[in-house]
Every structure is written in C-alpha cells, then in structure tokens.
C-alpha cells in the first residue's frame, strides 16, 4: 500500500499574489503576519493527511477542514453531521447543515444516516472538534460547569449550572469513532483542568492508558489518542501513558506560558519540536480561499485583546 502523507504545495489551491496583496491592502492587514485564528486554522490543517476522512464539527473545525482540503489534504473527504459527504467548499459554512457546506457533495442525507453510514461504519479518520474544557487525558467538556443539573434536578439550592455550554451536538460521537481526535481550543488555565467535572467527548485515552479507566475499558473500540491544537501549542496524547504532552510549540511562545496555562504537571513529548512558522502560501490560502469575509479568522482571543491593550 502506498504511504500517504500530506500533499506537496504544488497541489495546493492556487491564489494570485497580486490579488492577495490588494486584498490585504484593502483590509489593512499584513500579508505575511498571521493572527491567532489563522494560526489555529493552519495548525489544524497540518495535522491532517491526504486521502483521509475528516469528520468536522461546528465552529472552528469548519475552517480547519476547509483549509486542509485546499492544502495538505486535497483528496481528503469532509463529513458534516447534518448529512454531508465530501463537499467542495467554496464559501465557509457557518453551520454543519447549511447549503454552503453541501455544495457539490457526493451524497446528502440526514443526521442519523451520516453518523451511521460514515462514522459507525468505519469512515472517520480525523474527528475535528471544538471544546470549552479539556483535561489531562483529552476529555472535552462542552456541556456545563458548576454542576450539570438544572434546577429541578439538583439539591444544592442553586438554580442551575454556573455556566451552560452548547452540549455535545455530534462532538461525543465524532470523538468516539475517530482514529485520531483533533480538537481546536483556546488555551486558558481554567479551560485545561486536571480532571473535567463533566465529560462530553472522549477524544483521547480518557484515563491512564492500560488502566481500567482508559477509553477501551469503557467500551470504545476505536481511537488512538488525540491532538489538541491550542492557540499556544500542540498537545498530543502520549502513546505510553495517554497523558497530553506538549508536542509542538508555536514561534515566539515561551514554554513556561504553556505550562502556566494547564492545571497539571505538563510533560514534554519525546519527539517535541518547534512548530514551523506559518508560510506565506498558507496564510494566503486561509485568507483568500477559506474565509475572505473573515467570519472566523477575524475573531480575537482574550489573549489577543489583552496584547492589543
């Protein structure tokens, strides 16, 4: 079997440089300087490889999978849970069910059918997700903080959870069925606790690998660890212990900053390396092809806003 890796830049979607320079000039942005969201989008795309199946959740994964399809994985198939298989994305969708996401796809069906026919059946290489909280073993919480239960089901006198998030949507299922979990998140200490109070999606090993608490011993038959793309670094599950380790660090980010923004004793991966600076070509494609309206790329993290001040 031929070994498949990322495609070479010759296969990437072509964008005219002068057009790009004009676009940047009009918007007052530096053609070579990337923003945090652009970095996240590029970093996520770099984790994928060609001829894979990328099951993309809503939010940042929309642009992550689009970036992958226009660069590193031109032959990868994108799946979106509302019923979409292999769309040719020309405008970034804001929902996993909208017509922009369904353009020129291979088949269009419904939600239960998509999870069944593609994920359960065996076509889910990467599960691309977003999450609110991520713990030491790659468990994501996208449901609630400060007690899950709503008023009538709790006995602590509180009216409901302190913060309610969107809930699983398809995240739990995508994480359960994918060979590799791939989550895009903003990194803050409170969002990276040692143990999540509520586990919505098991993207990594769940507990120490090989213990009765790992994902397999809870009944999940697929999955080989997770890659968490944060705005500071890239974490990967250790193949020995399942713990998230720092695998790549972005240019200009101090290791201490990464450590200060997780709640556990962070280990460094054996094959740790610095993350290659996003190339001009990559930034250009992210901007011109994926999101010229800057629906996702125009967003700013808390850290961005603080830095601006």
């Amino acid at each position: 079997m031929a070994v498949i890796r990322a495609s070479d830049p010759g296969q990437w979607t072509n964008v005219d440089d002068t057009e790009y320079e004009a676009y940047c000039k009009e918007r007052g942005i530096d053609p070579e300087k990337y923003t945090t969201m652009e970095l996240l989008c590029i970093a996520a795309a770099r984790q994928t490889y060609d001829y894979s199946f990328i099951f993309a959740g809503t939010g940042l994964p929309m642009i992550g999978c689009m970036m992958a399809q226009h660069t590193y994985a031109p032959n990868a198939l994108i799946i979106m849970e509302a019923g979409i298989l292999d769309p040719k994305l020309i405008e970034v969708p804001i929902s996993v069910s909208e017509a922009r996401g369904g353009y020129m796809c291979s088949t269009l069906s419904n939600m239960a059918d998509t999870f069944g026919t593609f994920a359960q059946r065996g076509f889910c290489t990467f599960g691309m997700l977003g999450g609110a909280e991520c713990d030491k073993y790659g468990n994501l919480n996208s449901t609630a903080m400060g007690g899950y239960y709503s008023k009538s089901a709790r006995d602590d006198g509180k009216t409901g959870p302190a913060v309610r998030f969107a809930g699983s949507g398809g995240a739990n299922n995508i994480a359960s069925y994918a060979d590799v979990g791939l989550a895009m998140m903003v990194q803050e200490k409170r969002r990276f606790p040692e143990v999540n109070e509520y586990v919505t999606s098991v993207t990594g090993s769940r507990g120490p690998l090989g213990s009765a608490d790992d994902r397999y011993h809870h009944g999940l038959f697929r999955g080989s660890g997770t890659t968490i793309v944060s705005d500071l670094c890239i974490f990967r599950s250790s193949p020995e212990t399942g713990e998230l380790q720092m695998a790549e660090i972005y240019p200009g980010v101090e290791e201490q900053l990464v450590r200060d923004n997780v709640s556990w004793e962070l280990q460094t991966a054996k094959d740790f390396k610095p993350f290659d600076v996003p190339a001009y070509e990559e930034i250009k494609i992210a901007r011109m092809v994926c999101d010229p309206n800057r629906i996702y790329l125009g967003r700013k993290t808390k850290r961005d806003l603080a830095a601006e001040k």
């Binding site: 269009l108 939600m111 239960a112 065996g122 076509f123 309610r164 699983s168 011993h217 009944g219």
Partner: protein
C-alpha cells in the same frame, strides 16, 4: 369500526390549514414538540412565530439540530422541559443565550444526549422500534447524568400509567453485545476491511467489565423519541401530504415520522402528481403529515436551500439583542413576531438591524434569493 371518524392523517385536502389554525389545533400548553430543520437551514420559523403569537406555554421541546427555534421560544419564556443534544447557534453564537440563561436560572430543565444518540432515538421512533443500539457515549458523563430521572419523571405511576407519557422509563440502558462485536468495523475480513478506519481495540474492549460487571463488548440502547407534534419546513408538499425536501434533510424525515402528528410548513403546495412523477425523490409519505401550511418565505430569517439564504445581518444583530435583560428580550421577541405572518414578512425583514443595502420587507426577502445552481446566494455579504 365502520363508524369511526376519519383520522387526521387521512383527511386528504382538508389537511391544508391556515397557520393559526394548524398551531391552535395541534399545539397546546405542555405539548411535547419537536422542531425540525438544522440551525439556520429549513427551520419552520413561521410556525415557531405563530406559537409565540398564541403564547403557548410550558412546552416540552425535544430536538436535534441546533437551537434557533428553541432560542426564540426560550426568549418568549415558553419552554419548560428540553430534551436535546445542542443548544448553540453554531458559527453565529456558540451558545444560544436565552436557552443558556434559562437553564442557568432554573426556568428550563434539560436532558442531554449526543447527536448520534438522539439520531438513533429518531430512527427508533421512525421504525416503531423499542430501542436502537449506540456504540458511543461510553466513558462520558452522559452515562451517569439523568435530569428527568432525578426529577422523577421516568417510569410508571401507581395506576400503571406513565409518569410522563413523552419521557421514556430510562434515559438509556447498557447490554452485552450478544454477537461479541462481530459486526463492528473494521471487521476481520480476509486481508483486512475496506474502511478508512485503522484503529480497532476490540480485544481490549472484550476484557472490559464496565457497566455490567461482566467481561465483553457492551452496547448502549436508547429509547425512541415519541413527540406529540413535529413541525418541519419543506419546499413542496402535495395537497394530500406527500412531502419533498430538497437539500439537507437534517433530522426531518425521522422526526416527522416519529411523531403522533406532523405539521409541515411549505414554500408551495402543489398537485400530488407533480411529486409522484418522481416518487423516489420524495422524503415523507403522505399519511405522516396531518397539517399543511403554505407560507412562502416562512423560513426567514433562516435558509431554505435553492429558494433563499439566511439573513446574516439579522442573526448578527440578534446575538446582541438576546444578551440584554431577560424581560427586555421577552418583550422584543413578542414585538418582533407581530400580529400575523404576512404583516411580519412585509415589515420585519431588514427592520431593526443594520444591512448594507438598507432594504426592508419583501424587497429584503428577494435580496436573499438563492442561486438555484448553488442552493445559496454566492457572495452573500457576511460581515462579522
């Protein structure tokens, strides 16, 4: 039996009703209602607005596929119970603020499933199955959190009737797979399976004693959804109820068929023959539709593939509005729906939020027309 009245699903052309009559007939306070569509796509917003006009309270909303309708209902204070998977507005607002606030302040009680878990419940509902098998949700907090159970809404009363007829006696159940994982993919075909998935840890799973105390492959069973009413949006329905959905179905066909009654809001009512000429393209068989309501543009501010796109500018502004004081949002949403749908459509599009062209009413609606070759409006301005 000869004297029995004709069931609603066999009423032929009498299924065609006005928006207000359809809502009055099928939706009551406390009704277990399932809104169809997905986030911004094919959401039956005209029906949703009529529910707000008629002020039908204490709704038990069971839904999969985005919270946009639930957001409006929660803003108007109409939702009591919520059985769902996702309460976000996807790319526009990560968590629908009115729903979020109502869960946090104790107005709404919520039960969570994953999308596939819920999807399989709709499949079970569609086929009349007692349950459906799910292989995810293992190892998560879904397994030990059950809001409706803690509220005492599950099971039977002393007289043998269900405590809540729309709530299953258990959230889920775990069984040992009687086939020992034989059917799971990748399967041990000679020479390996032809799937993209490479990982297979069934041997480890077979050693696990989780959930039942016995070694072996486990499987989660989820109960069907059995809503009293499902509301959906379709582009075309025949005058007897044959329904064709063009573009993404989302959860619509399963949810419509799971329900006792289904109201379909359509862009156009057509002759049955028009759809029956190509029966394999039709989505829902006629007897599952109990009421047909024709509301062209009734999917505004959402998208109806091939007909019109969503109103990006509305949603962009709405996420600012729904973060205001709760009472203020409630007043806003009630003002927003106006006294009837036609007045709404001629007034509200482009009204109360900035747009590039500054158009309003029908003119705004026509601005959002989709290109039939794409399904959406290419180049629609979507400023953040």
């Amino acid at each position: 039996m000869a004297e029995a009245t004709i069931p609603t699903f066999m009423r032929g052309k009498d299924k065609i009703m006005s928006l207000s009559d359809a809502v009055k007939t099928f939706i009551k306070p406390g009704t277990c209602i399932c809104p169809g569509g997905f986030s911004y796509t094919k959401k039956p917003f005209a029906l949703a607005r009529e529910v707000i006009r008629q002020d039908i309270k204490d709704l038990f909303v069971t839904m999969n596929g985005g919270a946009s309708i639930c957001e409006f209902w929660a803003a108007a204070g109409l939702v009591k119970l919520l059985d769902t998977t996702y309460i976000g507005l996807e790319g526009i607002q990560p968590v629908a603020y009115s729903v979020r606030r109502s869960i946090q302040d104790g107005t709404i009680d919520v039960e969570d499933y994953s999308n596939y878990g819920f999807g399989l419940r709709t499949v079970a509902g569609r086929y009349g199955w007692p349950f459906a098998p799910l292989m995810s949700e293992f190892g998560t907090s879904f397994m030990d959190h059950d809001t409706f159970g803690k509220m005492g809404l599950r099971g039977k009363k002393a007289d043998g009737s269900w405590i809540h007829p729309s709530i299953a006696p258990a959230r889920a159940a775990v069984i040992e797979d009687p086939f020992d994982g034989w059917g799971l993919r990748p399967h041990a075909f000679d020479g390996g399976d032809a799937t993209s998935n490479q990982t297979n840890f069934l041997e480890q799973v077979r050693e696990s004693t989780a959930y039942t105390g016995n070694k072996g492959v486990k499987c989660i069973l989820v109960p069907p959804i059995l809503p009293e009413v499902t509301i959906i949006l379709a582009q075309r329905t025949g005058e007897l109820g044959t329904t064709r959905i063009e573009g993404i179905w989302g959860p619509d066909n399963e949810q419509a068929i799971s329900a006792k009654n289904c109201i379909v809001q359509v862009e156009k009512i057509v002759q049955e023959e028009e759809l029956r000429a190509q029966p394999y393209s039709n989505t829902i068989a006629m007897q599952y539709i109990d009421a047909i309501v024709e509301v062209p543009y009734g999917g505004f501010p959402g998208q109806v593939p091939y007909y019109y796109d969503y109103d990006w500018d509305f949603w962009r502004s709405y996420t600012q509005i729904n973060r205001k004081d709760k009472a203020e949002v409630n007043t806003y949403i009630r003002d927003w729906v106006m006294e009837d749908e036609w007045t709404f459509l001629s007034t509200r599009p482009g009204d109360g939020y900035p747009t590039i062209t500054g158009t309003s009413g029908l003119e705004r609606l026509f601005e959002l027309r989709a290109d039939a070759m794409y399904g959406y409006k290419p180049g629609l301005a979507r400023p953040l």
